[in-house]
Symmetry: D2
Subunit: 309 residues, 4 copies
């Protein structure tokens, strides 16, 4: 069994196919208009900026993950290499890297997940090829994201260090966190859903970090659609809760978000220091900036996201 | 011959060693303080944002360049791959990449160039190793850059489509372009030096783009130091002029910028559309944002830089 | 137009589908039986051995070839790296490589070329997937090749240094070279077809080496099938003649060899020194050994082939 | 502490520096002369051949091993890719790979281990560079190996399935296995030392396979030197016993073999089926063939070794 009948009804109800035209490949990025960017910019006071990315190296969360998802291996192609012999010459250090696109902090291209033969907006799943990658809905269709970011600090709301392993986040949880953030959500806002799961990665417990994990439940899908969020990011590997709520429907949030809603989403963000910033500032809104790497055809792409207060 | 005596005097005169402490690995990023970020933010009106990166794929400018600097090769590790058999299941598209760190639009880490056995701030060049890369002054020491960006549109100033191949940009050229930009430079500003050279890359003429090329001359070094710029980026492959002004001193701007000044710099930016934006807006200043990818130990690192009006 | 009607008739006439069973994935390797191996061993006198491979490095013939076929880039992951501090400790040098499977001297797996939806022996072309590569007729189905090798020294027969660029080798050429080699071909023999084209690679003229090139014509297909050769290898990049004899039928030798005949073949072999050996020995037969690298799922695979006299 | 005084005396006693000239980079490959090759060839009867390699894929023993030693990741760069549109056209399957040189069955280049600033035959350890790898004693100095192979089936001698984890093989063990093999060793012979450890790899127990492990002890070094073996290969990851016999002297067999003796050696061979062959044949000698991949500058290199009866 794939999506249950009930989930298929939900998928149809929240679908954004055609909403921004038959050729649209940007999905909810369309919601991040000038007003959303302006709203983000208006939250900034001192200009203090923080990266929300995890380091890209062999400690990456993909280590030991899905087949082929290799952690970044950076190697030198020249160390203090001179091109002219003799003392005092310019010596160059150059390097190269091999990595899974989804190895660290990344944004999913909408082509990342398909079902029933289609990706977002009705493009056929054959639009992904070995030679060219995602010719539709790939990373080349993602643009820069500047919007108001809102941190939903679920552990703070619940008074715990991190959400319990395997906890399925509900729509009520999101409402409570929005109230805690003292923000009125607006279309195009970027939601940063903190679970605290990334603490396990900090401790080097990669497999425990990967799963089992707290994450978004199918019960949040309609809520996210109703709020017309520009993007939703989490500090987990799976994004949605694992083990799945129903083993018969695997990865339903990915399926409905990416394929039906065109919902921009991403994973392996790090919100630990940001949560401290927010608590210190007494506000959970800020300028959120993300400039996904422009890999042509990519199905996920690395990003170094920023929060600016 | 490496740096001439004259250039060694210049290097000593513009040196920033010790300026921000003996342990500093950030160089001129220290100049991008809250005031600089605030100054950048204050230029924004509508929030219109543009990427300044070239695509990351086999059209990369590194194709055919220095040995080992391979263009990004992205390959699929799963195409519409289901993990559960049967119709309607979630199908995943995943990919991986191998590339030179400097393959596309990138920022040089300060460890990229050394001479006389030292990198910036007196760290020994042995701080770069095969196993760990740049343990000092690597990409891990680069943080996010948010500052005021200023486009110096040299072709516009000179009334040409692009600077002549091999043209050595002078300090007077920079002064003229600042006047054209109607901006009073302030410490921590980010300078975007447009030559138009990237037009050759747009046309697929990779080797012609790479070199010969217009670029910064040694005559601009003191000027850049005097203005205390946070970073300087160009739309060329070499950054400085090629062929060199003096074949006896190869890559002197790299040597003095990176090793003596700790000057943050980068290459293969694309300012073509930005120049049109600026002309339309009638202003050449904007919020500049760059979040270099956090590769631990990297000597250059990919970045998708943004200009926001 | 793909294969002409005439070529389709030829393909049907030379087909080996079903000849070694419906599950066969080894094709003409089945012809290399104990007698063939024994025949090869019996040619050996002194045991002098020569490699027929080109070096695996950035000088590889794939440099600048088809998209994604990158030359081997070998990088160090540790240089004189000690794992215990102090003098006199063991210091390790370790490296890694990225390369196209077909970057250097290689054997094609039978899955390398398909048409009409099928690969050799009627396996569907869908047996090649992004996740697993060639699950049928991949390199895992290739075993070691030990047989009698016969050098067909076409330039020697024709009294030229190398075959003219674009020359289409005929069946008569092969007969003449067999006569020159003073060998009676037997089933399972391995044919090494020397054109001299690899001389261009030796001179660093990679693009000239790649094509245009002399190579096997469609007129040799029936001849090769009739002789029931175990494998056929050439010292060219394309294997068959380029430009094609008929632009309407591209790569017909690949199509019929790999897909219809299950003919083991390979490219970028180097027969220059071997030709000298053979002339010195006054014989053009020897023990041929090839142990293709056992990459699971590979569609081509590196090999370091040997000739032993 | 590195090598103890006693081991340094041993190293001096077994040293082959200068034995084959001051420029020699081939070490004990010099012992594999025409007589050795001829001796190997003379053992062959039917010509039955077996590969001694493990598969090159994500099941590689390097998975989870030393940092940077990544298992082979093979990806498709084209799947049934046609270059001309239309039905019936040639469709190509092409792939690429990234892997540690030592990922699977491999031969160590003599440059793999150095100490006191030198590699084999007194070449300075600075002969290994990031740009060029091992410019001395790299894989380019390895040639094809054809010699008599002798299987030392230690588990058979001891009447066990596999040697006990952590067992240190002694010179007496080797003598007993030679007697069991009914062979009089001669200079240039290739020794295949079976421990049975690879059975753990077959079962997917990669970490258990890697270590702890049975392996050669320092007590075998003089024995191996006295017999002037052309090469020594094992079916383990470490080659020598692990944990080390003396934690103060780590990897002493590697150090003395590679750096002092120039002893060709290799790891991750698979002798399980070979042991069955030998028992069936009632003989433990055969033609051993290895054609290491010719990666320029490599410090280890993949090989698909063969035994022919």
């Amino acid at each position: 069994m794939a999506l249950t009948d009930e989930l298929r009804e939900l998928a149809a109800a929240v679908s954004n196919w055609g909403r921004w035209g038959d050729d649209d490949e940007r999905g909810t990025q369309n919601l991040i208009d000038g007003a959303a960017t302006r709203r983000g910019l208006d939250t900034v006071r001192a200009g203090r900026t923080r990266s929300l990315a995890v380091p890209l190296d062999q400690t990456s969360p993909q280590r030991g993950g899905a087949p082929g998802r290799i952690a970044p291996l950076r190697t030198m192609i020249g160390i203090n290499q001179t091109y002219v012999p003799g003392p005092g010459e310019a010596a160059f250090n150059d390097d190269t890297v091999v990595m899974a696109m989804a190895a660290g902090t990344h944004i999913d291209a909408l082509a990342h997940v398909t079902y029933d033969g289609f990706m977002y907006n009705g493009f056929p799943d054959s639009a992904v090829t070995a030679a060219d990658g995602a010719t539709r809905c790939g990373a080349q269709a993602l643009g820069p994201i500047l919007s108001r970011g809102v941190l939903l600090d679920l552990p703070a709301v619940k008074g715990v260090g991190r959400l319990e392993t395997g906890y399925a986040i509900t729509a009520d949880d999101l409402d409570a966190a929005v109230a805690h953030a003292k923000v009125a959500l607006a279309p195009g806002d970027v939601l940063l859903v903190r679970t605290g799961q990334v603490q396990l990665l900090h401790k080097g417990k990669v497999e425990a970090y990967n799963h089992d994990t707290s994450g978004l439940s199918v019960g949040t899908i309609e809520w996210i659609r109703r709020h017309d969020l520009g993007a939703v990011f989490t500090d987990t590997y799976v994004f949605e809760v694992w083990p799945p709520e129903d083993w018969g429907s695997m990865m339903p949030v990915h399926m409905i978000h990416l394929r039906d809603m065109g919902q921009i989403q991403g994973q392996n963000f790090d919100f630990e220091a940001l949560a401290v910033d927010c608590a210190e500032e007494g506000r959970w809104e800020f300028l959120f900036t993300a400039a996904p790497e422009p890999f042509t055809g990519a199905c996920s792409t690395p990003v170094n996201p920023l929060a600016t207060f």
